[in-house]
Symmetry: D2
Subunit: 331 residues, 4 copies
Amino acid sequence: MVTRLALLGAGRIGKVHAKAIAEDKRAKLVAVADAFPEAANAIASAAGCAVRTIDEIEADKDIDAVVICTPTNTHADLIERFAKAGKAIFCEKPIDLDVARARACLETVRQTGAKVMLGFNRRFDPHFQAVRREIDAGTIGKVEMVTITSRDPGAPPAEYIKVSGGIFRDMTIHDFDMARFLLGEEIETVVATGSVLVDPKIGELGDYDSASLILTTKSGRQAVISNSRRASYGYDQRIEVHGSLGAVSAENQRPVSIEVATKDGYTRPPLHDFFMTRYTAAYAAEISAFIDSLEKGTAPSPSAEDGLIALALADAALKSAKENKVVRVEL
Amino acid sequence: MVTRLALLGAGRIGKVHAKAIAEDKRAKLVAVADAFPEAANAIASAAGCAVRTIDEIEADKDIDAVVICTPTNTHADLIERFAKAGKAIFCEKPIDLDVARARACLETVRQTGAKVMLGFNRRFDPHFQAVRREIDAGTIGKVEMVTITSRDPGAPPAEYIKVSGGIFRDMTIHDFDMARFLLGEEIETVVATGSVLVDPKIGELGDYDSASLILTTKSGRQAVISNSRRASYGYDQRIEVHGSLGAVSAENQRPVSIEVATKDGYTRPPLHDFFMTRYTAAYAAEISAFIDSLEKGTAPSPSAEDGLIALALADAALKSAKENKVVRVEL
Amino acid sequence: MVTRLALLGAGRIGKVHAKAIAEDKRAKLVAVADAFPEAANAIASAAGCAVRTIDEIEADKDIDAVVICTPTNTHADLIERFAKAGKAIFCEKPIDLDVARARACLETVRQTGAKVMLGFNRRFDPHFQAVRREIDAGTIGKVEMVTITSRDPGAPPAEYIKVSGGIFRDMTIHDFDMARFLLGEEIETVVATGSVLVDPKIGELGDYDSASLILTTKSGRQAVISNSRRASYGYDQRIEVHGSLGAVSAENQRPVSIEVATKDGYTRPPLHDFFMTRYTAAYAAEISAFIDSLEKGTAPSPSAEDGLIALALADAALKSAKENKVVRVEL
Amino acid sequence: MVTRLALLGAGRIGKVHAKAIAEDKRAKLVAVADAFPEAANAIASAAGCAVRTIDEIEADKDIDAVVICTPTNTHADLIERFAKAGKAIFCEKPIDLDVARARACLETVRQTGAKVMLGFNRRFDPHFQAVRREIDAGTIGKVEMVTITSRDPGAPPAEYIKVSGGIFRDMTIHDFDMARFLLGEEIETVVATGSVLVDPKIGELGDYDSASLILTTKSGRQAVISNSRRASYGYDQRIEVHGSLGAVSAENQRPVSIEVATKDGYTRPPLHDFFMTRYTAAYAAEISAFIDSLEKGTAPSPSAEDGLIALALADAALKSAKENKVVRVEL
């Protein structure tokens, strides 16, 4: 049995998912919807599928699942609508920028019993997966301290910053999820420091561009997150886990791994400069995991609840940074 | 205009090329031929193309080019046949195990004016390509010494060794081509040392399993090649080029790049253990380069002549190892 | 002119300094004092110097400077005493575990005009020095975020923990100084999280064994410190500085840098397992810098004031961890 | 009992050995001789020892051993003279540039029963020692292939080249000894390729500046050596041993191990640019091993015979390069 999928949103990330679906023999993309016909047509012709409206997709009994890649402010509505329509749902993060709205959406999901998977793609990065496998195998003993470094090559334009929900909801949210993926315990407290060091315009919009955070769990495990909106050397994405018996880390990735030696030293090329090239394998594995869960009837992971918790952590971080205090997470 | 291709040989490497063609929008696989119908059918159904005989493909005016992945002993015949039929040809290395046969084949190719590209896939590895770009950019000055380390994870079975043409024609041939790709000058002398250190059965078949070689060019540039049929730590594939202003090297590749630290030290995982996973990107780029040359009407590279030269170097190496002397290459 | 030095305290670290003095041609160790005659004799015979009492050293007009390596609770008294006696002073950190006592000591130092250098040895590590040189050279632009990882191979015995002043005054104090060395701005706020993950006995003594800290400066620069009393893989000492134009980091050090490749992967040996072997070069360079400042008549650095500030930061960290809040540093 | 040593030759390397002796408590430098009184005086005053003539040292019953650091053309004479005088001898490599002279010298040594150690300092490098320990521990199984890369930062002046004995006797000689140290079997054949790529003046003097060599042992083990008189990136000194169960390698060393990341990539500093800073630890350990062997009455290693064999290998290499053939080593 082939899983039949429809794609909602034919933008940059929609294209990535369409390609991943095309390469998975267990799935078939049957329809794509987008407000811009050209975008939808481009994917439709490449994937050999139909262009439809969201209403048509909702009504189509032959569609098993939808992949939501529309703008953030439509996520919660679409999740609710397709949950009620009995479709399985893969939705890009976040559910919503407002935690109350996300909570309400989750309540609807629970009532319908719909299967919802949230697009925290980094969990599927092969290197981060390998880190997690070592933890699960007990190689480093009990997890004690997690360190996440996550820096973007460059700051997004002011227009994006305005609607992004701020650095914690837009950027750190991935790191909150990664911290939870690695800590093995729920986070109880968050303290965050935010600064404007990269671009004063970001500060004028009430946001930060540089942030450091400490998260703690009930038993005292600690995670440290370091974020910046700028890294001249590329897309800086490192994780490190220290435990009672050792540590495990995943290094940065670069497009080619050569080294040039001259009188000035030994130089390796900069890192990937774009999240899509850095996480190419992760995006494909993510969709594959969604299809897998549908095929096997297992609960998709990360779940909508994982999405809600990451959002609550982002809210706690914002409160911490604004009020300059340690904040207990309310779930 | 889409390039229409037929695949001759539906084995392991045939599948890889079929996939690469499917992902290139400028090309279309229209037919596949194989002595085993199941193999041909598998590719045909995945690629949505027809199963045909070699005769049919030869006669088909709508086929622009063939990709030859059949057994080595059929390569020269097929190249000649399809050159005469006016098709462009991509052929897996080698042209033939016998250099005289390869030379005769090349003569036919020249007479027909057919476009022939030889499958030295390693030239298309993104890391090795980046090494070459640094050389071309002059970063390391004039090339002086090339070092190639090339070791297989494990020795092939005796049946394969028997028909392989020996370590120099089967394994070192890739390194000869890589040395030429990097040296920037034709090789004049070869000295090779062969030993049986891995498996006595290989020695009983008259072959070596461990080899070291020095190649020199007219101006005195030197290349050193180190080969072994066994490397417990994976598929060892490194190149290094030393020049008047510096050096450039390409490191080994591994499936995941994590590091585990314990009381016993810091451990990274073993290398890729299979040439197909190691050179995945290279195989795709290779077919893309073939299609590119057909589209643009440029000469495909590496050419059939490159294939002949690598074979002549292998013959020189074998003579050197057997007679224990430095051998001047006859082209 | 040769600087004539006396050593107060002939323990482990005293021996290190005696050796450094012996290797510096500009200085001469003329006397050593210790409560244990055997310890003093051992250094005296190795260095060819006299054993004296502290009183004798204080009274000796021919001694230019003292190197204080006695127990922590004697530091402030000895600094005051030798400041009044007109000697230059090198003192192991900290001045005192009590910030008020340290402040009073500093006041005496100021009144006497004595030259005092505090033993923050890590500033003299050649790798960390090189990091600082890159910052000073402007290579990474404006400093924005500092990351310090500092983990001991194993926890000290309970007897030591009791008198250590706690993890922040004993262990993090080095990292506070390093953060100041690298940030280029004074620290204004500290938030610290402390946990007991390594050894419950440490918790019973009211101390922590695992800590994460965020420090901020006036302009919003941030430093993150990660501490643990245990690291199975050795003495983990890394620094990383991220700036507007790039980043610079110093890697961990190991006794030998080999790599073993087997079917289980590629393994490098564990790190140094002892601070004295890790910082051998730093200890020698530190004493050399002290002698240098005496010879040239420049102010020794790090100063007694640097010692006081690090202590104040430790106090702020302890308060932060105990009261679970962000603390503004009082200087 | 303290070993009393005299130093013959107070040049650059003599100073290094004098310092090593000063730091070893089991030994005492009692005299130094040099044709240049200033050089001898400098060491004498630093070490607190006497300046004497070679005749005086030869006659002095209180001197146990001599360390010969005089010009190469005096080595064989001095070894013979002090062997007859009943002294233990440490001599810098080589015994002589002429293998017949070296062989005659060795005969005298054998007749006197004198203890002679040859200064192949690289055997004592802590990293190379660690490589050897892994071989001895069986970690990589049976040794199969050794790879030695040995490149100088820059070519010596023509005056030095003239008296050096040529690249094989001057530079590769260290690599021959290292190959023997690692192969675990005597070398039977040598093939060498020499080119002039760095400096035409070197060619005019009849020497090479770039060389590649293959050495083989009876059982077929292979060693490859790559030499150049120039490496813009520093003093390139790497070894790698491949065996039946794995491989072990020692990386290049640099003065500081930092990494700078900018938009242009990740850069580590160049390597050491001088053999004395690269091999500081090796020189100290070498003298310590000599003193050790005298103290314990064991045979010093590497021996005078090791020196002779390395020289014979150099002769074989020169013959191979000149006559362009594989040469069987005559011992």
